[in-house]
């Protein structure tokens, strides 16, 4: 087979995939659009409540408004880890790829939200406690979990795609989740052994309500982002499968076109990679 025909075939396959994707998008957009609308509306409401509606805290001033971002992203990061754990168990039990995609979506989103939690925590701690970093138990726990799930994602990036990667990644995701309560207990003991300034936080009235709305808004945002990541992941898998199909053709001059920003499974179609 001459190179031209392989290229033609690649184009046909990609056109097919694109048409398929259009059909899928045509079937779903109402839910996705509605969800996006709810997310945007809740976010706008949260911003209004945080910056205009809720009264300024007397002791700390405006910086206390960090709370309304810090707590919700911390909550969503924990939800993300729970999602990775549940999806990992489900994958090991069923070996259905969709659980693996869900675990990736959870881990990637979770790492982002954990990073946001750390940043908002540090920005808040500096003016109030005088230091960027303290041994505060929840901050410590989030930092360690951040590292574990970054390692989880790095493992996935290093490992050739296939059943083995999904299985081993599920094991790592699960060990991280098992470790979470132990880390938190250790971090609490650590905090007690190395006491630092503690600021009393009363969450009732307007503060509590704003916090509640913000938490709901960030949860909805999390579901939206993780959902989009899940869809993207599925499309990446489809593209990888197409590439593999192309690279199995006798002529494979067009199969090695790595696209930036994707996982290695789309780079250089190694057909035996997942063995």
């Amino acid at each position: 087979m001459e190179p031209g025909s392989a290229r033609d075939r690649l184009h046909i396959l990609f056109d097919d995939a694109r048409a398929e994707q259009k059909r899928a998008m045509a079937a779903l957009p109402k839910i996705r659009l509605a969800w996006l609308g709810i997310t945007a509306g809740l976010m706008a409401l949260t911003l209004w409540m945080v910056f205009l509606w809720v009264p300024t805290e007397i002791n700390q001033g405006n910086i206390q408004r960090s709370l309304y971002f810090h707590v919700p992203v911390a909550w969503t990061a924990m939800v993300a880890i729970a999602l990775v754990a549940v999806a990992s168990v489900a994958y090991l039990k069923t070996r259905d790829e969709k659980w693996d995609r869900l675990a990736v979506a959870g881990a990637e989103t979770g790492v982002i939200f954990a990073a946001l939690m750390l940043i908002t925590g540090m920005v808040w701690a500096k003016p109030v406690w005088g230091v960027w970093w303290t041994g505060e138990a929840k901050l410590t726990t989030t930092l360690i979990l951040f590292f574990i799930y970054v390692a989880y994602l790095m493992f996935r990036a290093y490992f050739p795609p296939g059943e083995q990667r999904r299985r081993l990644a599920a094991i790592i995701g699960l060990i991280g989740a098992i470790d979470t309560p132990i880390i938190y207990y250790g971090a609490q003991l650590w905090e007690r052994a190395h006491p630092s300034a503690v600021v009393g936080r009363s969450v009732d009235g307007p503060v509590g309500l704003t916090l509640l709305v913000a938490t709901v808004a960030f949860s909805v945002l999390f579901v939206y982002v993780a959902g989009e990541r899940y869809r993207l992941r599925r499309q990446e898998d489809e593209v990888a499968a197409l590439r593999r199909a192309i690279s199995l053709q006798p002529s494979r001059s067009v199969s090695s076109t790595p696209s930036p920003g994707t996982t290695p499974e789309s780079v250089g179609g190694a057909p035996a990679g997942g063995a």
Binding site: F147, I148, F159, L189
Partner: protein, 224 residues
């Protein structure tokens, strides 16, 4: 039960024999850990009180970092010799293979600690050779080898596994490292068992949970 223990010992003995001939793993752990400790004696100007403050942290950081080197080898040796498949074909359950590997790693780390602790005591001038610290060291070695054996098996087939294992192993072991550092700290500052009983409980809980969890998850690691 007796047969299982015999199988575990046979598997561990295989690793010990290999190690006795090559002396790769234990020597690497010892030299690397002593190097870390020595570098810290230059990096920090050690007064008696400062030694007691930072010493336990340096000791356990050195053991953890050096331990990763040894753990890396435990499955790399199998992969390089193409003996992993042979190991999987042996008619014993995956749990027993895990416990065999765990026992081997535990012995390696413990032997290394027997050398590391006295040298550390000499360099930092703080007394760590006490019953309390020996118990702590044993608990830490059990936890390190449980988590390390599982992650070494997970990362054995990944490219650049030398990078991957510490990235997985170190954050997961943080609670255990915390417990070891804080308990040792209490001991060198003249504390008794009751002063660090919380940390001991944490270390024991870590060991129990991860020995069981790693053994259960190990069957999914070696699965073809």
């Amino acid at each position: 039960m007796g047969a299982s223990l015999a199988t575990i010992w046979t598997l561990a003995r295989k690793d010990l024999l290999l190690e006795l001939r090559s002396r790769d793993i234990v020597l690497a752990i010892i030299v690397f850990a002593l190097l870390v400790i020595a570098i810290f004696t230059f990096a920090i100007e050690l007064t008696p009180s400062r030694s007691r403050d930072v010493g336990p942290g340096v000791l356990w950081a050195a053991v953890a970092f050096a331990g990763v080197l040894g753990l890396n080898r435990s499955f790399a040796v199998e992969a390089e010799g193409d003996t992993l498949d042979g190991l999987m074909l042996t008619p014993v359950s995956r749990e027993l293979i895990f416990f065999g590997k765990l026992l081997g790693n535990f012995i390696f780390i413990t032997i290394a600690e027997i050398v590391i602790f006295p040298v550390f005591e000499a360099l930092f001038n703080i007394s760590v050779l006490q019953v309390e610290t020996i118990v702590i060291a044993l608990l830490a070695s059990i936890g390190f080898s449980a988590v390390g054996t599982a992650f070494a098996a997970v990362s054995v087939r990944v490219r650049s596994r030398e990078i991957m294992l510490p990235l997985l192993f170190l954050p997961t072991s943080v609670p255990l490292i915390m417990a070891a550092v804080e308990s040792t700290s209490a001991v060198v500052n003249g504390g008794s068992w009751s002063d660090f009983s919380d940390w001991l409980q944490l270390a024991i809980a870590f060991d129990v949970i991860f020995v069981i969890a790693s053994a259960v998850l190990f069957q999914f690691v070696l699965e073809e």
